[in-house]
Amino acid sequence: MGPEWQAVWLTLKLAGITTLLLLIIGTPLAWWLARSQHWSRQPVSALIALPLVLPPTVLGFYLLIVMGPDGLVGQLTEQLGLGLLPFTFEGLVVASIIYSLPFTVQPLQNSFMTIDQRLLEVAATLRASPRDRFFTVVLPLARPGFLSAAVLTFAHTVGEFGVVLMIGGNIPGETKVLSVAIYDHVEALDYGAAHWLAAGMLAFSFIVLLSLYSLNGRLQPGVMK
């Protein structure tokens, strides 16, 4: 595998794993945000939205410190025998999860909030337990939300640069993702190679968003057959 394809593969792997983990983490979190009346709902919402407004370097900087040898997380991972996370693929996954969290939680939360509470009451009177109601009523009705969340999370992780550079560095096959590879080519004035990757990203992003919009048009609940 050439270095370019290595970067492409690494990027897709990172985005895929991040999306999967975020859907697992983000679903209960979004459900809680959509339904809870607890006072901590607002602070938690604000915390989750932080990556939207912070420069990625700020996020990367603090992650580097927290996950480094003197940071809380760093000490924990070392004690668990996992070593230190910065400049590893696992470190990138952790950083991506935090960085892309709002892109998973917000679409899910929005689609959960549009589900009529009445339908959940109906399901309860038809003997569905809370878990059963979630899988048979909430999930199918929130399908467009899940699709948006997955696509946005994946695409946003593919496009990540600042955070990766701060805590991942530039290790081929380990942390050298597409955006970093493009940056490298430009630094080295190898515009041809940069074009090759950059145009590929551009086309990829466009196709992803196009399929998202057309799928969402067809997946409105109630129209599904």
């Binding site: 339908l119 309860a124 009177t125 038809l126 569905a128 109630g222």
Partner: protein
């Protein structure tokens, strides 16, 4: 072991300025109408019974305790079905899958109502593969009712199931509801503010106002109370069940026998001998004679005994309760007639019934 039949419900809850405080003992079968103005708490009571609205209290349904003190079964563990006022079908499921939603969750041994039975009761055969958005309002409500029945509930709760429908759809659904009332051996609590629906469907009635029960009892006796707790005013009158005993084909009349007498009705060829019907006689349609006057146009002369004479809405009229056998009647008379005929409780009189309406 004796199992107490019926529904014993005691609830207290409050939110904002509203307080619900009820203690009811309702029959174990038939339709109980929860009647009252909007905001009187009838829907809240229904939600408390379903477990959708947390409240302090106790609830026993045909001997099974669903709530008592701090112990309260979650909604999905209560053997009940709930038909909501507005459309509540799952938009992502076809009619068939909506119906199956509750049915699949009931163990086979506990199923009393079969899928095909519910479908035919509510006339849904041709709709099974439709999506809810392609149904009319009346069809949706029929699907919702069938879906509820398919859980073979021990208690059926219906919250104004017809109120969102137009008059035509109401007329279409009513016979289905009557079928249910006559086929199911379970208590049905039916929230309504429509006297017409209550007259047709209810066996028992609970009148609520401001979170409290103001009157309660079997429909026939409660409607015949001279103090008129239901505030029917001009429509005050009694309801009774009767059986068609004879048809007079020459004069197109038929005789409806009730416990204590009979009434002649116009026969429009829809009634058969032996058929059970429910009739309404309004208080303003009864006048009283001291002797059996045979030379007059009123078809219906029923001997009865005056039971009670009470004040009415206005001082010019009085409400007279009469008993024909075991069946109570109300007559609204002018106070002057009561005086000139010197009517007294215990007196034998003749009721001239000017009009009888069949309500189902």
């Amino acid at each position: 072991m004796t199992v107490s039949r019926g529904v014993q419900a005691r609830f207290r809850c409050s939110f904002g300025a509203f307080r619900l405080d009820v203690d009811l003992d309702l029959p174990g079968s038939g339709v109980t109408a929860l009647f009252g103005h909007s905001g009187c708490g009838k829907t809240t009571l229904l939600r408390c019974i379903a477990g959708l609205q947390p409240a302090d209290g106790a609830l026993t349904v045909n001997g099974e305790t669903w709530q008592d003190g701090s112990r309260s079964l979650p909604v999905h563990q209560r053997s009940l079905a709930y038909v909501f006022q507005e459309t509540s079908l799952f938009p992502h499921l076809s009619v068939r899958r909506n119906l199956n939603y509750g049915f699949r969750r009931i163990p086979e041994a506990r199923r009393q109502v079969g899928f095909d039975q519910a479908v035919s009761w509510l006339g849904l055969d041709h709709l099974l593969d439709r999506m809810p958005e392609r149904l009319s309002g009346g069809e949706r409500q029929r699907v919702a009712i069938a879906r509820a029945l398919l859980t073979s509930p021990d208690l059926l709760l219906m919250d104004e199931p017809l109120s969102a429908l137009d008059a035509r759809s109401k007329q279409d659904i009513m016979p289905y509801l009557e079928t249910l009332r006559d086929s199911l051996a379970i208590p049905i609590l039916y929230v309504s503010h429509s006297t017409a629906e209550v007259a047709r469907l209810a066996d028992h009635i609970v009148m609520m106002d401001n979170g409290q029960v103001v009157a309660e009892g079997p429909l026939q006796q409660t409607l015949a109370r001279t103090d008129q707790p239901f505030g029917l005013e001009e429509d005050a009158g009694v309801i009774m069940d009767a059986v068609i005993g004879q048809r007079d084909e020459q004069w197109h009349l038929c005789r409806a026998d009730f416990d204590g007498g009979h009434l002649w009705l116009r026969d429009d060829d829809t009634l058969d001998t032996g058929q059970r019907i429910r009739v309404q006689v309004l208080a303003r349609d009864i006048s009283i004679a001291l002797s059996q006057l045979t030379e007059q146009s009123t078809q219906n002369l029923v001997p009865a005994t005056i039971d009670e004479i009470a004040a009415d809405l206005s001082p010019g009229t009085s409400m007279v309760r009469l008993m024909a056998g075991n069946t109570p009647f109300l007559a609204r008379l002018t106070s002057r007639s009561v005086h000139t005929l010197s009517l007294q409780p215990g007196q034998r009189v003749w009721m001239q019934v000017k009009s009888v309406a069949i309500v189902d």
